[in-house]
């Protein structure tokens, strides 16, 4: 039986449930407008470790463990971990999976990883291939700066279009079958995105590079499902930032998708305030992941939000492609989250 709808969307007919979630962030995120909503806050950038990389993977491991514990389970009860991060060879996810000992599918979707993992995980749970799985990701300001830009010690000035990589992690437990019984949030659809590249080549303007993919996936999702923004309480994007969000609205207009601006919630625009001097906003896998777990999922569970399109966006560049003069492709995967009546 095909579960496909239109060109890129899948119907999750068994409506897998989201039964637990956890978020951990750094001090700067804690000082932002949603600071009180995160489950845990790192004491400092090193998180008790010897390197920023170790600090990042320890944060991810803690988020997954906390997510399991909040559901009354242990990591050993989790049948699969779908996870990735921004670092080369996704070492945060790989080493966390080693310590957690959960069977592991490694993903790379740059900042789209939270919705990529939910997209794959929701199909796996919907189909009965796992009863309990966790989708998780993370990012860390200091590791991302070192790898993608320059070591912090150089003190480089940031361009106005730059975004600030969030130090944060989010972990979401997806349940299928009987295990989903008590869920207050369910997954109903997912749309797998295409890689879109409109020729942006400025590695300090990720929002502009990702906006075309975001527009493509939203427009495709609406077309596939016959829906519009009116059918959603919120359309949540990952980390387009202020410039990318404006560009998304413009691109959707060109595609004849009208956007009521109050319904477009970009985690990158929301996680920091202007006084925090992050220029175009937050970014990184951990931005959408931590905001999903700290704000969006609780609002869905309580019924304040009834139906949300959650779509993290990723820029698929590397320092090598930038040096070789390539433009920056983007990708965005979407999942539909709904409040379930208790």
């Amino acid at each position: 039986m095909s579960r496909r709808l239109g060109s890129q969307t899948v119907v999750l007919g068994n409506r897998p449930g989201i039964i637990s979630w956890a978020s951990i962030v750094g001090q700067k995120e804690h000082e932002g407008p949603y600071g009180g909503k995160f489950d845990q806050v790192l004491p400092d950038e090193l998180n008790g470790e010897q390197s920023f990389e170790s600090a990042e993977r320890a944060m991810l491991e803690s988020a997954v463990t906390l997510c399991a514990q909040k559901s009354g389970r242990q990591p050993s009860d989790v049948q699969m971990l779908l996870s990735g991060d921004l670092l080369n060879q996704i070492i945060s996810a790989g080493y966390a999976a080693r310590n957690l000992a959960i069977p592991f599918y490694g993903l790379y979707g740059a900042c789209s990883t939270m919705s990529e993992s939910l997209s794959l995980g929701s199909m796996i749970a919907d189909g009965g291939y796992a009863d309990i799985l966790i989708c998780a990701t993370c990012s860390h300001f200091c590791t991302a700066e070192r790898q993608y830009r320059a070591p912090l010690e150089l003190g480089n000035q940031r361009t106005p279009t730059a975004q600030w990589t969030v130090t944060g992690s989010g972990a979401v437990m997806v349940a299928g079958g009987a295990a989903a019984g008590s869920a207050k949030v369910e997954l109903t659809h997912t749309t797998c995105g295409r890689v879109i590249d409109l020729g942006i080549s400025d590695a300090n303007n990720m929002g502009a590079a990702m906006a075309p993919a975001a527009a493509d996936t939203i427009a495709t999702h609406m077309h596939d499902t016959g829906r519009s923004f009116a059918d959603y309480d919120l359309v949540v994007t990952g980390d387009l930032g202020h410039l990318g969000r404006d560009l998304l609205i413009e691109l959707l207009g060109q595609k004849k998708v009208s956007v009521p601006e109050a319904k477009l919630f970009d985690c990158g625009c929301e996680i920091f305030e202007a006084r925090q001097d992050t220029h175009a906003g937050g970014s990184g896998c951990g931005c959408a992941a931590s905001m999903l777990c700290a704000h969006i999922l609780p609002e869905l569970a309580s019924g304040h939000l009834r139906r949300v399109l959650f779509m993290a966006t990723g820029a698929l560049l590397s320092p090598t492609t930038t040096m070789q003069g390539e433009s920056i492709p983007g990708v965005a995967h979407a999942v539909v989250l709904e409040h379930r009546e208790g």
Copy 2:
């Protein structure tokens, strides 16, 4: 309905089919013992491009296109591409997906990517979430040397334990439902591996780092399914090489899994001959992928092989973790491939 069997294995009750495959390799692989079986051979290391990285992604793009064409389809008929590679930010897969315009899930499993993609892809097709998808990966000797070891221009001497990264790509079309109708090969089970680390820290001995994960996944698969090597014509590993293969046999012995050595086929041991001076054998995502498409799948389609456990293995290190003194975790995912009577 749960489709789980034991702790880590999934039963693919609808038996998705493999209806097309394609392989492309470099000159050195063409000169090896399976050289006549690959679909295409690159003219040289640059493959008509300006950089090794461009050469690698063009090879992957060609393999996916050829795989679609061999089934009488175009890339636009493919509903999902599950792909990754060894390069930072999986740029080969990401840029190939941009040009192919197929909805794309990016994976990172190091050299385990071919079986990781088949593991995820088989569940997606089995569940009806896609009718036609392609799982694909690639590697390139020159890009891998530059990124993981040293630029070729340095002329560094290789250690005896070192393996030679295969320049090659493989693409496999998986079909569910009616689209699988004519398949001569079907997928029946998949086992998702855990990340295993026995403390190997020599980045020039990948085989030893991956063998523990291979042993863990094979032993778990046999336990979950109640099977032994007697139930398989071949157990195919990805790129353990000569040292890793010996260690796998030893580790399986410790787990009381007896190994008839003639049934253990390691693509890394097979793709090159001793005269080719590759030391411990071949490696890289493209090793298992190209050998699967050039040799294993044709043998299954013809019925010369009836049932194969295919399991590529990956070492989840990065140059950063090596410099930081970390040991090297490995991962291995397995899929069961069977000949289907026509």
